[in-house]
Amino acid sequence: MAAPARKPFIGRPMLRREDRRLLLGDGQYVGDLVLPRMLHATFVRSPLAHARIRSVNLARAAASPGVAFVLSGIDLAKLLPPVADHQVSLPAKWRTAIRHHILNPRQALLAQDKVRHVGEAFAVIVAESRYAAEDAAALVEAEFDPLPAVVDPEAALAAGSALVHEEFGTNLIAELSAGKGDVEAALRAAPHRLERRFHHHRYAALPMECRGVVSEYDRRTQTLTTWSATQVVHWVRREVAATLGMPEAQVRCIAPDVGGGFGIKGHVYPEDLLIPFLARRLGRPVKWIEDRHEHLMCSCHSRDQIHDVAIGFDDDGRILAYRDCFLADCGAFNPIGSGATYNTIAHLLGPYRIENFAAEARIVATNKVPNAPYRGAGRPEAALATERAIDLVAGQLGVEPAELRRRNMVRPDQMPYSVGLLYRDGEPIVYDGGDYPAALDKALAAVGGLAEFRQRQSGARKEGRYLGLGLGCYTEGTGAGPFEGARVRIEASGKIYVAGGACPQGQGMETIFAQIVADLWQVEPEDVIVTLADTASIPMGFGTVASRSTVTLSAALHHASERLREKTFAIAANLLECGAQDLELRNGTVGVIGVPEIGVTLAKVAQAARPGWDHGRPPGIDAGLEESYYWEPPTVTWSYAVHAAIVEVDIGTGAVRIDRYAVAHDCGVVINPMLVEGQIIGGTVQGIGGGLFERFVYDQQGQLLTGSLMDYMAPTASDVPDIALAHVYSPSPLNPLGVKGLGEGGAIAPPVALANAVGDALAPFGAEFNTTPVLPEQVVRAARQSEQTTLSGAER
C-alpha cells in the first residue's frame, strides 16, 4: 500500500531523541520533582532478620522538629485495611496444565507482628525535609523479640526450622513441575550418566537510580497523581486505586525519566502504595527517595537457585535424558509469584533437542530480601545448570564442548521446533525460527576461532599460563503477553501522536517507536510525538518487563494504525473525490497511486476529520482521527544467543582476566542497530558482573554483609573487555514487524560462559566451577588442592 521509494527508518541507527534533555541536565527523574508544600518520608527499617515486634514507640520521633506525621505498621493496619491480592497470576491454561502448589505470603505495607528480613520497614516518618525525617527516625524506640533466622533454603526445609510465615506451617511456599517423555527410564537406560549440583548465587539489578515515589492528592477533583520510578505504571495505578479504595479513573501514575530498572522496578512495592496513602491523608505532596543502603537491603534481589541435575547420554554425547530438581530461595516474600521460577523450567532445554526431561522446582522462604525478576528472570539459572552440565559431559567423553553442543542443537531445518513443554502463558513452546549452530560458529569466529584458541591455549600452558574458552548458549521467550495497548491520533497540525503502555528506563523507546510510526505512516520521525509511561495517555497498558516492549507495542501501534488508516483514507478519498482503494501514504500525504502530484496532507485530512460545521468527512464517517488497539500476542517469540568468553586465569592471585568476549545473537528484525548493540552490551556487562564480582552475602543471623557499594562490587569500565557482536537474522512470524525481544538476553549467559571458561582454563587441575560468581579464592583453592593431591600422590 505504501509507496516503496522511501528508505525505511526501521533498521537505521538513528540518534536518540531522549539524549538532548539528559545531556543538558534537563532530565526529570522522580528525585528531581519539587511540589509546593511537599513533605518527605523516610522509613524505619528492621535491624534484625527475624523477630517479633514487641512495641514501637514513636512519641519522641513525633516530637522531633519538623515532623508532620509518624505511623507504625500496627497503626497503619487500623487506617488502611488490607485489600484483595492483586498479584499477577499465571493464566488458567497454565494453571490447569502444570502441576503446582502455591502459598503466596502477603506483605503488609509496614510490618505489624514481626519482621522477616533486615530492612523490612515497620514505621514511616513524614517531615518537612528528609534531614528532619531522618533525625526523627533515629528517635524511634522499637523492642523486638529475636527469632532464629533462616538463611539457607535447604535448612529452611529441614524439620524444626524456624518458620518465616508460621501460618503455612512450612517454608516451602511453592512447588512446580513439568516434563516430557520418561526421564527416569531414559536415565536408567542411558550408557552414561552425570550428576551434579549447581548454585546460581544471589545478586541484583542495581540501577543507578534507586526507587522513588512522589504523590499528590487534589481535593477538588479527588484525584491522586503518583510519580514512581517504575516499569509498570498501570499496575501501580491499579494497586493504588484498590488499596486506597479509589476508582482507577481518579488515580494517575507517571514514570518520568527513570534511571534504569532491569526488572527490579517491574512490580509494585509497599512504598508505591504507602506514599499515595500518606499524600491523601496529609493533604500535602509526599516524596520518598530510596537511598542506596535501603536499595541493597529492601529492593528485590534475584537469582539464588540450587540445581541438582542428572543427565543421561550416549557415547557420541547425545543427551538422552535431563532431570533437574531445584530450589529457589525467594527470601521473605515472593512478590511476583512463580513466574520467574517457571521461566527457569521452561528455559532449561535451551537450544537443544532432548526427548526426556523433567524439572521440579521448590520455592523456599528465608529471612532475606524478597526475590523478584531481574534481567533474565530465571533464565540465567537455567543456563548455568544446562550449560555447565554440557561442559562436564563433554569433559567426561573427551569431546570438544562446542562440538557436543552442535550435536545436540535444534537444526535450522527443524524450525519451527516444538519443544514439548508449555510456556508460562499456557501456550506450547515452539521455537519460531533461528539458526543455533550458525550462532555458535559466529561466536567462536568472533573470539578468533576455536582451533586457533586451542593452539594458543596449549602454547600458553607450556609457559605456565592458563587460558580457557567457555560457551553459554540460551534461548529466550520474549514479547510475553498478556497484552500491550497503543493509541494513535493524527492532529490537525499533521503530527502523529502515539501513546503506549510501555515504560522506558533508558532503552530509547521514544526514538524507536518514532521510527516505527514514521514507517507505518510514511512520515518523518520528527512528525511523531511519543508519550509513554503515563496512565492518563492510555487507559490500559502492561509495562516494560520480560523483553516485551518492542514486540508488543510495535504490534499494537501497527494494528491501531491499520484501523486509523482506513478512516484516514475514507476522508482523503472524499477530499480528493476518488476511491479509497486508489490511495497510498507518501511523505506526510495521502496521495493517489500513480499520480504523484495529486494528494492531500495528513494535516488537511485531520482538519477535515474534526467535528463541527464544514467538515470534510463523507457520510457515515464519525469525527476525529484516533484509534486504540490492545494487542494480545499469540505467544512469545524466541530470541537466542551464544556467548563465548576467553579468559586468562592467574592461579597465584585467582584473578580472572577476560581476554576476549563475543556474543552472537538473533533478535529478528532490528529497529535501531545502535540501540540493539547498546542493550546487548549493557546486559552482557551486567552478566559479567554477576559472573565474577557481584553477590549478596548474609551471615547466619541474616545480616546483609554487602549492604554498600564498597562491599557489593559492580563492574567498572576497567573490569570489562570490549565485546564483539555477531548477528544472526530470523524475523519472527508472530508479530507484524518480525521483531523479537532483546532487553534481557545479554545478562543470561555470561555467568555460565565465564564459569565454563575458568573451568576450561583450569582443566589440567581437574577443577570444576559449579557455583557463581567465580571468585579468586575459588580459583586459588582449586589450583592448590590439585597441587596438594598431586604432591601427596607423589609421596605415596
Binding site: G25, Q505, G678
Partner: protein
C-alpha cells in the same frame, strides 16, 4: 538543628549567596537550594560517582562534601557544559555514539571525561577506561561511553577546544 551558616559560591559562572545548614550535603544544596537537579545522587557514600562535579577545576563527589566546604569555591555542573544550548563536544559525542541510556550516571561521566581530556587530550582506550572507572554505569556496559570520549577527544583536538 544548628544555626544556618552563610555560604557564597559560584556555580557555572553564576554567583550565589545565602545560608544553609552546616550538615547539608553539597549535592543536596545544588539540587534543592539552587534547583540544579542535573547532578544526580546515586549512592550517598562516594562510590558510584553519579554526583561528580567540578570544584575549583577538579572533579569531586558532591555527595561526600558538605555545602559549607564549598564556600568560596567555583563549581561546575552538567548544566554549565553547553554554550547557550549548543552541545559541548563531549555532549555531542555522547549523543552521536550512544554514550548514554538512562542518563543517570551521565552527569558524573561528563565531568570525569571533561577532566580527563583537559589533563590528557589524547587518551588511549585504557586511559579512558581507567578514568571513568570512577563512575558506575549500569546501562551501557561502558563501550559506547569509551567511544564517545575518544570521539570527543578527536573533535576537541581538531577545533582546539581542549582547554575549555
Amino acid at each position: 538543628m544548628a544555626e544556618p551558616v552563610a555560604i557564597r559560591l559560584t556555580v557555572n559562572g553564576q554567583r550565589y549567596e545565602g545560608t544553609c545548614e552546616a550538615r547539608k550535603l553539597l549535592v543536596d544544596f545544588l539540587r534543592e537550594d539552587l534547583g540544579l537537579t542535573g547532578t544526580h545522587v546515586g549512592c550517598e557514600h562516594g562510590v558510584c560517582g553519579a554526583c561528580t562535579i567540578m570544584v575549583n577545576g577538579e572533579t569531586a563527589r558532591s555527595c561526600i562534601m558538605l555545602a559549607v566546604q564549598a564556600d568560596g569555591a567555583e563549581l561546575g555542573t552538567i548544566e554549565g557544559l553547553a554554550d547557550n544550548g549548543a552541545f559541548h563536544p563531549l555532549q555531542q559525542a555522547f549523543h552521536e555514539n550512544h554514550g548514554l541510556q538512562c542518563g543517570y550516571c551521565t552527569p558524573g561521566m561528563l565531568m570525569v571525561a571533561l577532566e580527563l581530556l583537559r589533563l590528557n587530550p589524547s587518551p588511549t582506550e585504557t586511559e579512558i577506561r581507567e578514568a571513568i572507572s570512577a563512575v558506575l554505569c549500569r546501562c551501557t556496559g561502558y563501550r559506547d561511553i569509551v567511544r564517545s570520549i575518544a570521539a570527543a577527544a578527536e573533535a576537541m583536538r581538531q577545533d582546539g577546544k581542549g582547554s575549555r
